[in-house]
């Protein structure tokens, strides 16, 4: 039995440390140790994207990363998306465009979309569809998701111009 390891990270802007076994994935640590159950377990093979989180600015599948690898890294999960006083613009636009039905894929889709907009504030529709190719949704048919992300990008760039 391997010893448990202390891992220090910055999680949603806060310096934290947690204890995990080396065999635990980041997804397991988030859900079972840190009780952040926003990131979902889908396929466990990196195909569905339901567990997508952002680590050091990159979207990745938290089911395919060991929790011990998070040492010294900066992690963003869906729990950190909304400001204290409301919703992130992506979340707001997902509601306005009815971009979710069952909601299982939504946390992952939101994090992939955030990573995209962080790198590319003015994506084309093709850019969005490419960035979301690793997030499967069985309900929406994707169209409403893509429209919400385009609208969110527009809204963010309008805000940036006004600032």
């Amino acid at each position: 039995m391997a010893k448990k390891t202390v891992v220090e990270t910055i999680l949603n802007g806060e310096s934290i440390e947690f204890l995990c076994e080396p065999r635990q994935s980041l997804l397991e640590a988030l859900r079972d140790v840190l009780e952040l159950t926003g990131s979902k377990e889908g396929c466990l093979t990196g195909d569905c994207g339901a567990c997508t989180v952002i680590v050091n600015g990159r979207a990745l599948c938290s089911c395919l990363m060991l929790a011990v690898e998070a040492e010294g890294k900066t992690i963003e999960t869906v729990e950190g998306l909304a400001p204290a006083d409301g919703l992130h613009v992506l979340q707001q636009k997902f509601l306005e465009h009815a971009s979710l039905q069952c909601g299982i894929c939504t946390p992952g889709v939101l994090m992939s979309s955030k990573a995209l907009l962080d790198h590319n504030p003015n994506p084309t529709e093709a850019d969005i569809r490419y960035a979301l190719a690793g997030n499967l949704c069985r309900c929406t048919g994707y169209d409403k998701i893509v429209k919400a992300v385009m609208d969110a990008a527009k809204s963010l760039s309008t805000r940036a111009r006004a600032a």
Binding site: R23, L44, A59, L60, L64, M65, G134
Partner: protein, 295 residues
């Protein structure tokens, strides 16, 4: 998943020491996009997992016209296509790295891991072979260079001995009139394993369109990636016209030894090898002509 021990050395020397000390019980991890799935499925059962992506030497992309490319085995695919030199001088290898899995996978997966996983369908391996890349392997007894076409020995198996680590790739400087390409056939737009993959590079003689060097390599049509030597021999010294390309495509088809599986029949795959080889050589040649004008 069974219990594992995790180590994250900072130098190649320390990584090799750990790998050598634990021999068959150790396995390097980089992006983990293959290994973690294999651990969960019990396909591989190492007791020690040695994380090699904190080793600076293995994370660098260094290009110069004098020395060519040194590509660290642990560089994630996403950093390859974000690199201007990679896109300009090695577009075929870059496009191969850019079509592995989703962006989430490309954030983690490396070209070195793609090769060491030993899949016959690895996308970046034919692209490396087409470029004449060599793998620098460091082990407890010293280091050696392995041509990438000699690296894989069977599905999931490579020339690496216990204790050995693939550190980086050495890729020759492209000549002013050369370029490369990689094409993969899958039945959907993104996120699938190759039915057939073809990598090619060509070097042209200035003004003449005569081929002075060419390499073709195949994925997913044999137990290992395949280097089609015969295609090089058939193309060198010839004008790179439709007839020469057709001859190379026939030789590539003959060099393939595909099986029937859920992704396609052997007969279908042989056909696709010919089609993709033609298109890939034409694309590499087109890029080489453009490079002639822009470099």
């Amino acid at each position: 998943m069974h219990a594992i021990n995790y180590e994250a050395p900072k130098t190649v020397e320390d990584a090799v020491k750990l790998l050598a000390a634990h021999g068959e019980k150790a396995r390097p991890i980089c992006g983990g996009t293959d290994l973690i799935i294999q651990l969960r499925a019990g396909v591989r059962r190492p007791e020690y997992v040695v994380d090699i992506k904190n080793i600076a030497e293995m994370r660098r992309i260094a290009f110069s016209m004098q020395h060519g490319l040194r590509l660290g085995a642990a560089v994630p695919c996403i950093e390859i296509y974000e690199n201007g030199d990679m896109r300009k001088y090695y577009p075929g290898l870059t496009e191969a790295a850019h079509l592995i899995g989703s962006l989430q996978i490309q954030s983690r997966a490396s070209v070195g891991g793609n090769l060491c996983n030993g899949s016959p369908a690895a996308d970046t391996t034919p692209a490396l072979i087409a470029l004449g890349a060599q793998a620098r392997v460091v082990g407890p007894k010293g280091e050696r260079m392995v041509p990438v076409e000699d690296f894989c020995t069977a599905p999931g198996r490579t020339v690496l001995q216990p204790g050995e680590l693939l550190v980086e790739f050495h890729v020759p400087t492209p000549s002013p009139h050369s370029s490369d390409a990689y094409l993969r056939f899958i039945p959907r737009n993104e996120m699938d394993i190759a039915v057939v993959g073809v990598g090619a590079s060509v070097t042209l003689e200035l003004g003449e369109d005569r081929c002075t060097e060419a390499r073709v390599a195949l994925a997913a049509v044999g137990p290992t990636p395949i280097f089609v030597k015969e295609a090089s021999q058939a193309l060198v010294g010839k004008k790179l016209d439709d007839a020469a390309i057709e001859r190379a495509a026939q030789l590539a088809t003959a060099a393939s030894s595909p099986i029937d599986d859920m992704r396609g029949t052997a007969e279908y795959r042989r056909h696709v090898v010919g089609v993709l080889t033609r298109r890939c050589l034409a694309k590499a040649a087109e890029r080489a002509r453009e490079a002639t004008q822009s470099r």
